[in-house]
Symmetry: C2
Subunit: 423 residues, 2 copies
């Protein structure tokens, strides 16, 4: 009906999703021309921008022009700036085709400096879009997020509304939010994918994140011997496996373990049955964790209780008894465990380093890298360009490595700096 | 053999327990004359002092005369003072017959002011013992601690070694530590006791405390319909039920609930299955919780995650989303829930108020009461005596109510003040 009236059909993802499954096999056949959605974060941007099979995608930025924000005495630019910087780093990986705002224009018109700021945002968006819309950004590794849904629910884990904070998921959501704007190639893999066709050959590191008993961490699928065997073989062959929260956990202990891949991750969870002895050791933090966490201020969110390190794991404690991180060698591969990972710039850097550590790609990470965690680098080999982002509202200095060449950069608040790629 | 040599047989509880079950029905027949044990806390003192069927009990106080404490530059009196004040409040409820210390006397002899302090402790012990050894202290209510062991393991829940701090239990251990020195009559009741003979007629309030899947909270016994029915009837008839941690919880949700007595306690626990909507309300803390918590600095320990208040409960939150306490009317009775209760003087006062609130005995509590939570009052009607304890190393002022009569008291650090009971 829409097309016969010579109009385009556009779906607002969020208000009108209702099982349409934008990442499902049939979505491209239902006749939609475009998808628009509210961009509350980097991962909600990727959720929209990555949808295949439509002519274009559009992101609706915050704040909406509603009286709760556009009221006397409040500055709507504060939310707009935070929203733009949060979303922009995801845009550097996969630009939307269009951006917009929503609400009552007459309210926005009463805040001329907000209108000016939006003009700045749209200029910056157009510039990014002109430079990189048709190119593939450089990735230093390929990461697969492993859960019950896989590709069908790409970027959709843990989201409440358009990325609003939710106590039960914010400690996990930070993982996808970090990935949304990092120089890594992200895919979503389901347990059934692995059982059907194995682990794709180009994956460097897998992440399993979430609470026990959820589709995100997997639940009792971890009792499936083929699943754990395939992953163990793959890690032992030289790949990385990262668990966050209650990864690979079964509701009841199975074969003496809560985390079925405790042997890979270097950590298990004590349940009531095993509570009696003090199993914590006083050995110092290992040098591998020191490399991953160096100079970062970490926030493990709600954390995960009752963790115990298994033999040969290096670990990081909070206080005497609260385990927060482990790393472990497993054959030629590595396991990394993190108790929780809310989104902060430092936590995002932690994840980036942990992924490269797990995949034995530390040196590759350092080829294109900003030492300051508030600064991120994206490289576009097809264009001979790189972009350096200041993700904060303060000036930032950083050492930079670009194609392995060392330099320094000083960035203004919010700045994005484009340069030709050094040869 | 011991008796035929005209000696007494004494067991060191702790080193030599090995299933002897001092609270079991056969203990009095095994020929022991006495039990001695290490007093690491108030509840370890009661564990020893309450043992029936021996001629006498002895507590071994801290610190042991070992080189870790008795070394140059360290003051052993610091630990001795803390240990004595912690244990003394339990002694006021049930005195040991003897006290002592252990270790190398030559080490202690090198610290003359420690020897002086021990002389002070022994004088104070003798005085307490002379005054109250043969009398029953006043109790403002009767409390039953409900768990899988009941009387057989009186005062033994959650203890690691002689009361050492343990991450997985310290948030529950505080309940028994508080009870050990409070003016309430404590009994231990098992689930099987209730199923066999019902709830004893003189019990005012029941406490179920611990983690899911342990003997202390009960585990899947809570799927037994007779158990939950008996307790619901009893509460509805005008009694109190207090849950701490994961009370009445089953490993998997049963009949749609994690806490089987969520309807009594006013709180349930979200598991993965139910995580999607924001169920927290913005209503103010209820006046009943305000009465229980007034002027106290609370510490909920490791707390309990993912709690949701059920309809008609009043609740206390920490931050926006972390529920920490609920109270709820249930027929003529009341339920109270606390997320965790490490031992502090303020937390002990919280429990004391919560018990009297749950049992509708607030006014009885106020008959013999010190308003300052650092001060406790014990009354000995058979002797016409009361004792006012300063449980801290600082001076304390408090309003006092004794037999309902108001007065004020100013106590020196560590002081115990004896007075004739006002008529």
């Amino acid at each position: 009906m829409v097309h016969s009236a010579d109009k385009e059909a556009m779906m607002f993802l969020g208000d009108n999703w209702i099982g349409a499954e934008p990442y499902g096999p049939y979505f491209k056949e239902i006749g939609l021309d475009a998808v628009v959605g509210s961009v509350g974060s980097g991962m909600t941007l990727r959720l929209i921008a990555d949808i295949p099979g439509v002519k274009y995608t559009e992101g609706r930025f915050l704040p909406y022009f509603f009286p709760d924000v556009f009221r006397p005495g409040n500055d709507p630019v504060i939310e707009a700036r935070a929203n733009w910087l949060t979303a922009r780093r995801a845009l550097m990986r996969k630009p939307l085709d269009r951006i917009g705002y929503g609400g009552y224009l007459k309210l926005a018109a009463q805040f001329p400096h907000f209108v000016d700021y939006v003009a700045h945002v749209t200029d910056e968006f157009r510039d990014i879009s002109d430079k990189i819309a048709d190119t593939i950004p450089y990735s230093s590794l390929k990461v697969a997020v492993l859960n019950g849904w896989g590709k069908l629910r790409s970027w959709q884990s843990f989201i409440v509304a358009h990325g609003k904070r939710y106590e039960q998921t914010y400690s996990y959501e930070g993982v996808l939010e970090a990935l949304a704007g990092q120089p890594v190639d992200v895919m979503f893999l389901s347990f059934n994918d692995i059982l059907a066709t194995g682990i794709p050959a180009d994956v460097d590191v897998m992440i399993n994140v979430g609470s026990v008993g959820t589709a995100f961490s997997g639940g009792d699928i971890w009792q499936e011997p083929r699943l754990v065997t395939l992953i163990r073989q793959w890690v032992a062959a030289g790949h990385g496996f990262i668990g966050i929260g209650e990864p690979t956990a079964t509701a009841q202990p199975y074969q003496g373990r809560r985390f079925q891949l405790a042997d890979v991750l270097g950590v298990d969870q004590e349940l009531a049955f095993s509570l009696s002895t003090d199993r914590y050791w006083d050995q110092p933090m290992g040098e591998n964790i020191a490399w991953i966490t160096k100079d970062l201020t970490l926030d493990f969110g709600t954390g995960t209780p009752n963790l115990i390190a298994v033999a040969d794991a290096q670990y990081l404690r909070y206080g005497r008894e609260q385990l927060r991180m482990t790393v472990k060698d497993y054959g030629a591969g590595r396991g990394v465990y993190i108790a929780g990972l809310p989104y902060t710039l430092d936590n995002a850097r932690l994840l980036l380093r942990a992924m490269h550590y797990a995949a034995h790609k530390e040196s590759i990470l350092m080829q294109n890298y900003a030492t300051n965690p508030n600064v991120e680098v994206h490289v576009y080999p097809g264009k001979g360009l790189y972009a350096v982002l200041n993700n904060t509202h303060d000036k930032q200095n950083s050492e930079l490595f670009l194609n392995g060449k060392h330099t320094v950069v000083e960035l203004e608040p919010d700045e994005i700096r484009w340069e030709r790629e050094p040869q």
